[in-house]
């Protein structure tokens, strides 16, 4: 009803300062919600994509989740069993029938697979001894399965074939060793085998766990180093649909029996931290909006109190309870709407400021500047929240105003 809106606006204009304060409160809530949302979404997307790309989507490991049952445990499943003098078998481990299995996985639609041998080594350059994980790869297959090629900052994968014992180091390792491309370092495995390896390339993924601890060499060389001829202890798999990784990993594990880890499982603790972080940040910005809502509740309550005589008159003129309630709900709506629009502008400006900050951080990932999300989602959510909370805040005082008894007020005023 037009006249109700006129009266609502007249009330708001009649107390400009208080209206401005309420609007400012909502605007702050919306602005910070948008900015924090942008930062949260941006950093989350950036974080996850770095994690995803730093390692294979799925890794089939030379391990079993649960130790296999002893024969007697299998024969008598419900029994109480005690076995004395058990010793672990000393096998040259490795994934059985690895080649066949790699081929089988590769044949599946949406999957690419590559075999690797992974083992611990100590690299020595000059006076420095640095322990690292050396991964033996077949470059032709590996480049289909990981981003190693695009992560190279110097050298290329092919040099692994041409150099006698080529090795590609992560940027962190390079720093720790103080070595440069073209130079030679000594690599020793726990088996005692020692190889002189030439640095033919370096890579940088942004994930510290990878850049500071991993190196790549030819599969054959690493098999020599680890004294495990023809052994493969890891199958690395790339999937087309990264969010299906977990279920695909489970199906592979069901098929092969070996522990198969998806990127989600491998990073579960980090992802959990994300969930907690998001919960905290959302709670804080929502709290800001709730506080703004309290401000609106306060101002609308005050207005209904001060305007009691006007309400009595309107009722005597024939305005319904519904009309009176609409006048005060309308004020809540206007404050929410104006606050939302100003808040959007504020949020936009804040994002601009955040985007212009430059700095280097190195925690789980390394980057310069803040990753931000520029889409409309958080603007929309903040706008809706602002208007809804403004109207909720206005509802109770509006309802009370609509129930005021005109006779009581008029009696009291005379």
């Amino acid at each position: 009803m037009g006249v109700a809106i006129d009266i609502a606006l007249a009330h708001l204009k009649g107390r400009k300062r208080q209206t401005a304060v309420s609007v400012a409160g909502v605007a702050m809530g919306v602005g910070f919600f948008v900015a924090v949302g942008s930062l949260m979404e941006g950093s989350q997307q950036d974080f996850i994509s770095t994690l995803i790309n730093a390692a294979p989507h799925i890794t089939v490991k030379d391990e079993f989740r649960d130790p296999p049952l002893q024969p007697v445990e299998r024969l008598y499943p419900g029994a109480a069993i005690r076995i004395d003098g058990l010793k672990p078998k000393d096998e040259i481990r490795g994934i059985r029938r690895a080649r066949a299995r790699v081929a089988a996985l590769d044949a599946r639609a949406g999957l690419d697979a590559a075999p690797t041998l992974r083992g611990q080594v100590v690299m020595r350059y000059g006076a420095k001894d640095v322990s690292a994980t050396l991964i033996g790869i077949e470059p032709d297959r590996e480049r289909r399965v990981s981003q190693i090629e695009s992560d190279l900052t110097a050298g290329d994968l092919e040099s692994l074939h041409t150099a006698a014992n080529g090795v590609i180091l992560g940027s962190g390792l390079v720093r720790k060793l103080g070595v440069r491309v073209g130079e030679t370092l000594a690599t020793t495995a726990p088996t005692g085998v020692r190889l002189l390896m030439k640095v033919v390339g370096t890579f940088h993924t942004g994930a510290v766990a990878v850049d500071s601890f991993q190196a790549y060499a030819l599969l054959k060389k690493v098999q020599v180093l680890q004294d495990r001829p023809n052994v493969i202890n890891e199958i690395r798999v790339k999937v087309d649909d990264i969010y299906a990784a977990r279920s695909i990993a489970r199906s592979i594990e069901a098929q092969f029996g070996y522990k198969t880890e998806s990127w989600e499982e491998a990073n579960e603790d980090l992802l959990e931290v994300l969930v907690i972080r998001n919960a905290i940040l959302y709670s804080v910005v929502t709290a800001i909006l709730i506080v703004a809502g309290f401000g609106i509740f306060n101002i609308i309550s005050t207005v209904t109190f001060e305007k009691a005589r006007d309400i009595a008159i309107l009722k005597s003129l024939g305005f319904l309870e519904h009309d009176v309630r609409g006048i005060f709900l309308g004020q809540g709506f206007v404050v929410g709407l104006c606050g939302a629009i100003i808040g959007w502008a504020l949020g936009f400006a804040l994002i601009g400021v955040l985007g212009s900050i430059e700095f280097e951080i190195e925690a789980f990932t390394q980057r310069s500047g803040l990753p931000l999300y520029y889409g409309p989602f958080y603007y929309a959510v903040a706008g809706v929240l602002a208007i809804v909370s403004a109207m909720l805040a206005a509802y109770v005082p509006a309802q009370r105003a609509s129930r005021l008894n005109p006779v009581d007020i008029i009696r009291g005023a005379a």
Partner: protein, 226 residues
């Protein structure tokens, strides 16, 4: 014979509470169309309470009110509001104009709520009401820029906005000097005699009451007619 414009039958209003107060006791009132009626009584006698009951602003505890023959006992708040909007006009002792609106906008508010006229017609009607009450020059002024007498006349113009058949006034001259009070009563007389509206006014002023067609006396909530 047409139904009386306003009728009260055995109307009682008790204010609930720890010690209930009876404001109006078994009042029987009959007012015909076009009458100019004064409601008089000592302070606290219940005259305003009776007026609010007749004007459907308050509901009787027992008894019933009829407006133009219509029973209001079983009506809900929204129905009563509709009658107030279309058939009744209130004038109070204090003008109670909405302070954020000019005189002409105040007068238009009931019309806008009724929603029957176009914007142009509403403005025309408002202007003629304002002129009839001698307020053309004050048309665009705000209530705080008017004198007491001007405000009261603006309130009367507003009460007439939807062409009500009944005007109810609660001590309309109580805050005015005798000159302005006389002007207001002239207006009421004109509304009743020349325009055929029913005017019921609470007043404690005997000279003004004498100008009315008749007087309803009320003492301690009991009505006796003179």
């Amino acid at each position: 014979m047409t139904a009386p414009t306003i009728e009260a039958r055995k109307v009682t209003r008790v204010l609930p509470g720890e010690v209930p107060v009876t404001l109006v006791r078994e009042a029987d009132v009959t007012i015909q169309a076009g009458e100019l009626v004064a409601v008089r009584g000592p302070s606290g006698s219940g005259k305003s309470s009776l007026l609010y009951l007749l004007g459907l602003l308050d509901r009787p505890t027992t008894g019933t009110i009829l407006i133009e023959g219509r029973e209001t006992e079983r009506m809900d708040q929204d129905d009563l509001a509709e009658i107030r909007l279309e058939r009744l006009g209130f004038v109070f002792q204090f003008h109670f104009l909405l302070p954020e609106f000019s005189v002409i906008k105040n007068v238009q508010i009931p019309m806008r709520r009724l929603g029957r006229l176009s914007n142009g017609d509403m403005r025309t009607r408002a202007m003629s009401l304002i002129a009839a009450l001698g307020l053309e020059a004050e048309r665009d002024k705000y209530p705080d820029q008017l004198s007491g007498g001007q405000r009261q006349r603006a309130a009367i113009a507003r009460a007439l906005a939807n062409d009500p058949s009944i005007i109810l006034a609660d001590e309309p001259t109580g805050n005015l000097d005798s000159k302005n009070g006389a002007i207001v009563f002239d207006i009421f007389t004109r509304l009743a005699r020349e325009e055929g509206r029913t005017v019921v006014t609470v007043t404690h002023d005997p000279t003004l009451a004498a100008r009315c067609d008749r007087e309803i006396r009320i003492v301690d909530g009991r009505v006796g007619v003179s």
